[in-house]
């Protein structure tokens, strides 16, 4: 009922406020050498609305917003702000026109206080401009914070606050500079579910105060919960602009990708088999010699996907590297298929039948300057038929590559192009093809869908579930809760290098996981090991 009320409220507000478009972008075309990033795009923002720009990676949504913010100049087309035609030459012009942008990566000075960060570059001065009037600054910040219900204490240093709070500081910074129109680029990427909810409330507050908001995102769920209207962009062109209340996730996904997409994966009920990966009391240090993993234990069984959920930077990277033999294990034990791999080299761990999908595919997964054929044997280049007595058998390598390209539907002219010339999704397919070829007993997949478009995500998920079907063990490390909830049989939540708890997927909810990801404990009975 509450949602109905909300909808009604928005409809009412729409009638009152949506009298004029604060932003009108007409026939915007932006051509980069060789690429049409925006092709006659029409986009309008009404006063007081939250308008989502939805599209896959590379669809052109960030380009469009960078044009609005003055970072790029359009090749052709006009921009109207408050009904007046404007050429936005630089971000300075944009700010003057009341347009503010919150980037995905925050631009804050860590040891400065919130107030200092907000006034940076725009400080109230006293003593003839030689000293910063900190008191006025703090008062101003406090005033804006209260006005929009941001609940920010101006005196705390950035380094002491959470990511969600940092985002609010960025929003506050834009408001302080007089923004009437806010552009948020992938605002939810770094937030926990609870923080996402809070952000939604804040944005609604802002619109009540008459601000207008553009959200750039590729996440369907948030789109539906936070917006009034949605403009879908595909390959630089606007596919459609629709009211949020009149659409759903499936049709949005179809608009975004251009074909029917299955958002939920089919998981069959399945009994897990014997233990493949067993981690006992693991302790690992990070590159700064600080404890990154403190006393972690878990098992992964055959025919099971165990997901490690958590906010980025809680030890996931170190854990994965240690399991792959790339990082020293201080104490504890790792058993893979009953072989003690605690102190083995990567090569020997691979021998046991371990496949990796690394988190950073361009740095760790592929030699970008190598051809696809060369990349597709990385790790088993010393095995027959690809080499014999140290001599490479390139005809076999090429045959192998051609086979995998067809089998995994990798979009490439041929196997001789360099890995760097492929799109992210296709690069990931190359890695998956390579790692699946050895038919691994255990697959360690670290953020396997990071930065991928919906179509590629669907592909990766299907393949991971296939491993499970074939009675292989999968360790999935992911920051995406949807992914974790959709794929895993059991979910281990990691927080500050410790496993806070392991939930059965059927008991897990986004709320529970969110609490645990923030380091909170669930009440008795909530946790089932």
């Amino acid at each position: 009922m509450e949602s109905l009320d909300l909808t009604l409220e928005y409809v009412m507000k729409g009638l009152v406020l949506r009298l004029s478009n604060v932003i009108e972008m007409k026939e915007i075309t932006k051509i980069f050498p060789g690429v049409v990033a925006n092709d006659k795009v029409n986009f309008s923002l009404e006063k007081g609305e939250i308008h989502v720009l939805l599209g896959e990676n590379g669809a052109g949504k960030t380009t469009l917003m960078n044009i609005l913010y003055g970072l790029y100049q359009p090749t052709s087309g006009d921009i109207y702000v408050n009904g007046e035609k404007n050429a936005i030459k630089s971000p300075t012009t944009a700010i003057k026109l009341g347009i503010g942008m919150v980037h995905q990566h925050f631009m804050l000075v860590q040891p400065f206080t919130i107030a200092e960060n907000i006034v940076l570059g725009n400080e109230p001065a006293k003593a003839g401009g030689f000293r910063i009037d900190m008191k006025t600054a703090i008062d101003n910040v406090q005033k804006i914070s209260d006005e929009f219900g941001l609940a920010v204490d101006p005196n705390i240093k950035i380094q002491d606050i959470s990511v969600g709070m940092q985002q609010r500081v960025e929003i506050l910074k834009a408001l302080y500079r007089g923004a009437e129109i806010l552009i948020l680029d992938e605002p939810t990427a770094v937030l926990t579910p609870q923080e996402i909810d809070e952000l939604g409330d804040i944005l609604k507050n802002l619109t009540k105060e008459g601000k207008s908001i553009i959200l750039i995102t590729h996440k369907l769920k948030e789109v539906l919960s936070m917006s009034d209207r949605i403009t879908v962009i595909r390959r630089g062109q606007v596919v459609d602009t629709l009211n949020t209340s009149e659409t759903d996730a499936d049709s949005l996904a179809e608009l975004m990708v251009g074909r029917k997409v299955k958002l939920t994966s089919d998981r069959t009920e399945k009994q897990a088999g014997s233990v493949i990966l067993s981690v006992k009391n693991l302790k690992i240090k990070d590159s700064r010699k600080l404890e990154a993993i403190r006393d972690v234990s878990f098992d992964v069984r055959a025919g099971e996907i165990l997901a490690i959920a958590g906010v980025d930077g809680n030890g996931q990277r170190e854990l994965v590297e240690a399991l792959n033999g790339l990082r020293k294990i201080e104490s504890g034990q790792v058993l893979i298929s009953n072989v003690d791999t605690t102190h083995l080299h990567t090569k020997d761990i691979n021998e046991i039948g371990v496949g990796h999908i690394p988190e950073d595919r361009q740095k760790r997964g592929l030699v970008m300057e190598y051809t696809l054929a060369e990349n597709m044997i990385l790790g088993y280049h010393k095995k027959a038929p690809f080499s014999k007595n140290g001599i490479m058998n390139y005809p076999e390598v090429h045959k192998h590559a051609k086979k995998l390209i067809t089998e995994f539907d990798i979009r490439t002219p041929n196997e001789n192009v360099k890995a760097k010339s492929l799109s992210g999704g296709n690069q990931q397919k190359v890695i998956i093809a390579r790692e699946f070829y050895i038919n691994p007993q255990l697959l360690i997949a670290a953020q396997p869908t990071r930065g991928l478009d919906v179509g590629s995500i669907e592909f990766v998920h299907k393949r991971l579930l296939e491993q499970r079907e074939n009675n292989k063990a999968v360790l999935l490390v992911s920051l995406e809760l949807d992914e974790v909830l959709g794929l895993a049989d059991r979910i281990a939540v990691i927080y500050q290098g410790k496993i806070v708890g392991i939930l059965d997927a059927k008991d897990a909810t986004e709320r529970k996981l969110g609490i645990m990801m923030a380091g909170g404990q669930l009440g008795e009975g909530d946790v089932s090991a």
Partner: protein
């Protein structure tokens, strides 16, 4: 799909243009100096390729720099900058003298391979030290190889003056500023012994060893698992590691092989041309020229062979050019221009690659 020829053309296009530009700029300088560039270049090529004898002189000049060029190129393929070819060359040449003296009674057919192998091992160890320090302690190879150059130079001078001096080893000799010579049977065959047309040219069969080395390194880099691993570490150490390829092992191996090639340069130079090692006040320079040779040869073994020939031509033809009344420094200018254009292109490429990486990153942000 690109043909094989197009692919080869792609990688050699840049140095070929650079060379043409080098000659054009050289010509402009010659005009400014008041001479006719056509006369100058005619003399240059006459003096280096005009007769079998002068071609022979070009061949012996290019021999050591092909080896050191290969050395730098191989290290570079593993992502290492081997400035130490100088020191490795010295290590190879001094050990060649030692081996020649110790086994001076052996027949040439055994002694020559032995000297060459010992030269390879000596240079290999000298390079390997830098590789080990990098792999084990992360000390940058540029620092260590430069330091090892001077250690090699002064150790060599010390040995020249003391234990390897004719005064020490041959009773009744006086003290010299050079070592004892390699035994007669250990000297490489001169080309004029095979083809009389080479007349007084100092060319020796070392050039064939250099060509064989280039072909061997080509095969090693592009047709073996060792080369596959070395190149992956050079292109992307992190991805290589993930594929179970040891960064450390390959760093040491690549530096050993690179050092071995420079050491071989020293051993071939001793057995083929100089026969003894002199006391010198500065580094011989083959290693540094090797860096240029590798650069112009785009770090490809066969490219190194071609660019070694070019450097040999410039070096040898300069004399004839001087006889024609044109300052021989012109060849220095040509070399410099070629290098500037190639290095400049590499810088441009480096920047554009970095921008591309940035673009990829910001795309992911999107």
């Amino acid at each position: 799909m690109k043909t094989r020829f197009e692919k080869i053309w792609d990688s050699f296009r840049l140095p070929i243009f650079a060379v043409i530009l080098g000659f054009v700029v050289g010509a402009i300088c010659i005009v400014i100096a008041g001479s006719n560039p056509l006369v100058a270049y005619a003399a240059l090529f006459q003096g280096s390729l005009g007769s079998i004898t002068s071609f022979g002189e070009t061949l012996y000049k290019m021999t050591p720099i092909v080896f050191t060029g290969l050395s730098v190129a191989l290290a570079f393929r593993c992502g290492l900058f081997n400035i130490g070819a100088e020191g490795q060359y010295i290590a190879g040449s001094i050990v060649a003298i030692v081996t020649g003296w110790v086994f001076k009674d052996m027949p040439g057919i055994i002694l020559i391979p032995m000297i060459l192998i010992m030269g390879i091992i000596a240079g290999g160890i000298w390079g390997g030290i830098a590789g080990y320090l990098k792999a084990r302690f992360g000390v940058h190879e540029v620092i260590t190889t430069i330091m090892l150059n001077y250690i090699a130079l002064h150790t060599s001078n010390y040995l020249v003056r003391t234990v390897l001096n004719p005064e020490t080893l041959i009773p009744g000799s006086i003290r010299e500023a050079f070592t004892v010579s390699v035994p007669e049977q250990a000297k490489l065959i001169k080309l004029n012994a095979i083809l009389p047309q080479f007349t007084y040219s100092s060319a020796h069969i070392g050039i064939f060893i250099a060509i064989a080395a280039a072909i061997f390194i080509y095969f090693l880099l592009f047709k073996t698992t060792v080369g596959y691993e070395i190149r992956s570490v050079g292109l992307s150490p992190d991805a290589a590691e993930y594929g179970g390829i040891s960064k450390q092992k390959n760093t040491i191996l690549a530096m050993f092989l690179a050092g071995g090639l420079s050491g071989l340069a020293g051993a071939v130079q001793v057995t083929g041309l100089i026969y003894s090692v002199n006391q010198v006040s500065m580094l011989p320079g083959y290693g540094f020229t090797g860096i240029s040779v590798a650069l112009v040869g785009v770090n490809h073994p066969l490219g190194v062979l071609a660019s070694g020939l070019l450097f040999g031509i410039l070096d040898n033809g300069a004399r004839q050019m001087q006889l024609a009344g044109i300052p021989k420094e012109i060849t220095g200018i040509i070399q410099a221009v070629i290098l500037i254009f190639i290095a400049g292109e590499l810088i441009v490429k480096f920047i554009s690659d970095r921008n591309k990486k940035k673009a990829i990153k910001s795309k992911e942000v999107e």
